[in-house]
């Protein structure tokens, strides 16, 4: 039984059909690369799994039982964490505050519980260090560089122990050093039995960490292959449409 | 001794109070060593008026004449003045009955009487009664409510309860139409729009009575609104009767676009207030209350009705 199973997931925005009948499964300890041209529908699919959009049609099953995510917390409560492509950060808060947003660490003083700023700064610093990112937990996100922001978004997924981590182009803005760390992270996640879906345009990265690659073209899935059975060239052809499907 | 007396109106953006100010300044010229300090809220706000009075007390003026927006609250504020030994009087509007001990006297008119006189003009023109629409000022404005009660009491010939009284429904032949009394919030534009709509809606309206000058502030607009009904007004089918006797209102009356005006004498109020305060400051006793009288004008006496 697979951890996540999508059946015929379809999503339309008015006249635009972003996704048409997508089937996808992923098991524990597996990493799936999701590739496709710009506008192919990758982010839309991620958002549906993360409970951000409701699909126009289709089913989502987790461990075999159908789920309906009406809001993002529903997905999180089902053990799904996500790094959004547009990062979804609050510019007016500090890096640490963003990492812990919605899951703040609190201390109790008698009946009153209050935010434990110190603990959050420290824990956030630890997470950034783990990612080898030069991000200062006390900085406002507004003032941070593109890669620092991405580090914040990635750090958020490290707070809980999710079953499935969705990463929508997590390495787009970060530098070589941290890219290696993120790929490392994905390896570690796999090893500890987590499932990962990685959306990326970087072919080498996908081939380094993923077990399987799925290709979307204009909202339909045109391929779903084991990494061992395909090659970067084939995947490129599938993405651009030079190869019809496989 | 030089005296600094404050004359506090309800609002400074109301032409009515300007006349009081002019009277106050005239008294300042006539009285030796008296300064008229005319100060009030820019708009009609209760809290700001009280704040101003408090500041005047802090400042240590030699006498305060106030037209309270909120009588009970002003009563409390004025207690501090009395404690500070500052003579206090009211004008235009008065304090509550139980607070009357606080102020030395009241200079003004009884608002109730304005209503009575407005109603009398209507009754003289329409002895059999008919449909009437009343127009009033701001929400819960005590002076307008008393005028309304005056009108209602007089038209119905009985006591209609606490101000503004109960709407008329056939008493003595008079019925108030639906949607009235119109509330204008002292806005001339709203007043005109309301009157226009009601006149259009109620083809057989007998009388339109307004308790404030706002209806006629905007000369041209009022004339346009009333013009179509001029014949009816002349033939006695319809009456438009408005409180106050500002210059353009008198012109409208003379041109047959109004059937009656009942005016107070704000100039007189401002003028008299200074004399009263001077007397108080000098320790003399004063009359209580002091009524400045009303001007009741109809087309017949339009040239002579105003007290000079």
């Amino acid at each position: 039984m697979s951890l996540l199973q999508l059946e015929g997931v379809t999503k339309s925005f008015g006249a635009i059909h972003a996704l048409q009948g997508i089937d996808l499964t992923i098991s524990e300890g597996e990493a799936v690369g999701l590739m496709g041209d710009n506008g192919a529908g990758k982010s839309t699919l991620m958002r549906i799994i993360a409970g951000n959009f409701l699909p126009t049609a289709g089913k989502i099953r987790i461990n075999g039982s159908e789920v309906h995510f009406n809001k993002p917390v529903d997905a999180r409560n089902n053990g799904i964490e996500i790094v959004y492509q547009d990062l979804a950060l609050c510019n007016n808060l500090t890096a640490a505050a963003n990492v812990f947003l919605g899951r703040e660490i609190r201390k109790k003083f008698g009946p009153i519980s209050y935010l434990d700023h110190k603990a959050m700064f420290e824990k956030a610093a630890e997470l950034f260090r783990e990612l080898k990112s030069e991000t200062r937990p006390r900085d406002l996100v507004k003032q941070m560089s593109g890669g620092q922001r991405q580090a914040v978004a990635i750090a958020r997924t490290r707070l809980s122990d999710p079953k499935l981590v969705l990463m929508d182009e997590p390495t787009a803005a970060i530098s070589v050093r941290q890219v290696a760390e993120v790929l490392n992270l994905i390896h570690r996640l796999k090893d500890s039995g987590h499932a990962v879906i990685l959306v990326s345009h970087r072919m080498p990265d996908v081939f380094e960490v993923c077990d399987r690659v799925s290709v979307l073209r204009r909202g339909t899935k045109v391929a779903d292959k084991q990494i061992s059975e395909t090659s970067p060239e084939e995947v490129t052809g599938l993405i651009t449409g030079a190869i019809e499907n496989a | 001794a030089d005296y600094n007396f404050a004359l506090v109106p309800k609002a400074m953006n109301n032409p009515f109070f300007d006349l009081a100010r002019d009277g106050c300044y005239k008294a300042q010229e006539e009285l030796e060593g008296v300064t008229c300090n005319y100060i009030g809220p820019g708009e009609h706000t209760e809290l700001e008026q009280i704040q101003i009075v408090q500041d005047l007390i802090s400042q240590g003026v030699d006498g305060i004449a106030v037209s309270p927006s909120n009588a009970p609250a002003m009563g409390k504020a004025l207690k501090a003045a009395v404690e500070a030994g500052i003579p206090v009087m009211t004008w235009d509007a008065d304090l509550l009955e139980e607070d009357k001990g606080i102020r030395a006297t009241f200079v003004g008119t009884k608002n109730y009487d304005i209503g009575v006189n407005l109603a009398k003009i209507a009754m003289a023109r329409h002895p059999d009664g008919g449909k009437v629409c009343l127009q009033t000022g701001g929400a819960a404005a005590a002076n307008h409510n008393e005028r309304l009660k005056g009108i209602r009491d007089t038209l119905s010939g009985k006591d209609t309860g606490t101000p503004p009284g109960e709407p008329l429904s056939g008493e003595n032949g008079w019925t108030e139409v639906a949607g009235c009394p119109l509330i204008t919030d002292d806005d001339g534009n709203k007043a005109i729009q309301g009157m226009t709509d009601i006149l259009a809606k109620e083809a057989d309206l007998t009388a339109f009575i307004s308790t404030g000058a706002f209806t006629q502030w905007f000369d041209n607009a009022y004339r346009q609104a009333a013009e179509p009904y001029k014949d009816k007004m002349e033939s006695g089918e319809l009456s438009i009767i408005v409180a106050d006797t500002l210059p353009m209102q008198m012109a409208q009356l003379k041109d047959g676009l109004s059937n009656g005006q009942v005016g107070q004498r704000p100039f007189e109020m401002g003028y008299r207030a200074m004399f009263v305060l001077k007397d108080l400051a000098e320790g003399k006793s004063v009359e209580d209350p002091i009524y400045t009288g009303l001007d009741v004008c109809t087309p017949d006496n339009a040239d002579s009705c105003l007290a000079q």
């Binding site: 449409g241 030079a242 | 032409p15 949607g179 509330i183 259009a200 502030w217 000369d219 041209n220 346009q224």
Partner: protein, 338 residues
């Protein structure tokens, strides 16, 4: 094979280029002004059954004239709101512009000078607002709130708190412009109609209009794209003030008199009309037809309640209720779509 792929790409590209999500009419169906317009019609239909006075020419004349002044101001306000600004000073400015006009004409300078003085006063106020907001980067709310107090105070000072109802030699022409009609349509309504069309053109076809919308969407990006953001913002506030000045000119002409209380508290009504007409206070959205439609809705509600004989104490309640309902309609409509 590469060749065929290339060809099919070209085809696809072609289809993408010309793809348009929906037609103009479909797009209109999604806008707030359209749904407010539907609400307008609905109220009209209901009222024509309730009151036989409603559909009379005279009532229409009154309604249209009443909302024309607000509509004109709302057109200017919608430009300001489109830049994510706000102008609270329009009401006070009306008082100032009206008094200035009155004083100039009372002194016998004629209507030409009166008009120039009126618009000049408005433009100066707008300029000060705009400069403080665009160059000094102050919050529009604070600046225009300060101006609200200052403009009213200056109106009080220069009028010496007196009413003006003598407009010199051109009094008749002045009162004709504001108070009379051409072909049965009140002059202020003509002005509103012409301005609406002009604004429609401006938003759709002028560079300036495009820039204003861009600034509302992302002022930083607009700045980076080389748009003279500060200058455009100043011009927007001047425009808004000029619209208010024009409305004051017409209104005083109709009233035949002016006090410095002219326009008191109108700012909220104007902003409400603009917002009802689809403007978004966060900026970036503007519809030329929204302003008159929003103003019309507010006036129609007022008029209808009176004609329907609703108790005066309850009237404001229904004004508020219908205001919310009108906007709700569009909200529910868009709900169903996404």
């Amino acid at each position: 094979m590469t060749d065929t792929t290339q060809k099919s790409h070209a085809e696809i590209d072609e289809s993408i280029t010309s793809r348009q999500e929906m037609s103009g009419l479909q797009a209109a169906l999604k806008t707030q002004p359209f749904w407010v317009f539907i609400a307008l019609i609905a109220i009209g239909v209901v009222m024509s059954f309730i009151s036989d006075v409603f559909l009379t020419e005279r009532n229409f004349f009154n309604i249209t004239r009443n909302f024309a002044f607000f509509g004109i101001m709302a057109l200017g306000m919608s430009a300001v709101i489109c830049t994510a600004g706000i102008d609270l000073s329009v009401g006070s400015l009306m008082g100032l512009a009206g008094i200035v006009t009155g004083l100039v004409m009372q002194a016998g300078y004629g209507i030409g000078f009166g008009f120039i003085a009126c618009m000049g006063a408005a433009a100066i106020v707008g300029l000060i607002n705009g400069i403080l907001i665009a160059y000094v980067r102050m919050a529009p709310f604070v600046v225009t709130l300060g101006m609200l107090a200052m403009a009213r105070s200056i109106a009080m000072v220069i009028s010496n708190n007196k009413m003006i109802y003598d407009f010199g030699p051109d009094q008749e022409l002045f009162e004709w412009i504001g108070g009379e009609s051409v072909f049965g349509v009140p002059n202020p309504v003509w002005v509103l109609m012409i301005l609406t069309v002009v604004f429609w053109w401006v938003w759709r076809y002028s560079t300036w209009g495009r820039w204003v919308i861009a600034i509302g969407g992302n002022a930083d990006a607009a700045k980076l794209a080389g748009i003279p953001v500060e200058r455009v913002i100043v011009s927007v506030y001047v425009l808004c003030s000029c619209c208010a000045g024009l409305a004051a000119f017409l209104l005083v002409g109709w009233f035949g008199s002016v006090t410095n209380a002219l326009g008191l508290t109108y700012e909220l009504n104007v902003i409400a009309a603009t917002v009802i007409g689809g403007a978004n206070l966060m900026g970036g959205v503007v519809y030329a037809f929204g302003a008159p439609i929003g103003a019309a809705l507010m006036e129609l509600i007022r008029n209808s309640l009176l004609l329907a004989g609703i108790d005066a104490l309850w009237q404001q309640f229904f004004v508020g209720l219908f205001l919310i309902l009108a906007v709700l309609l569009e909200q529910i409509r868009n709900r169903g779509r996404s």
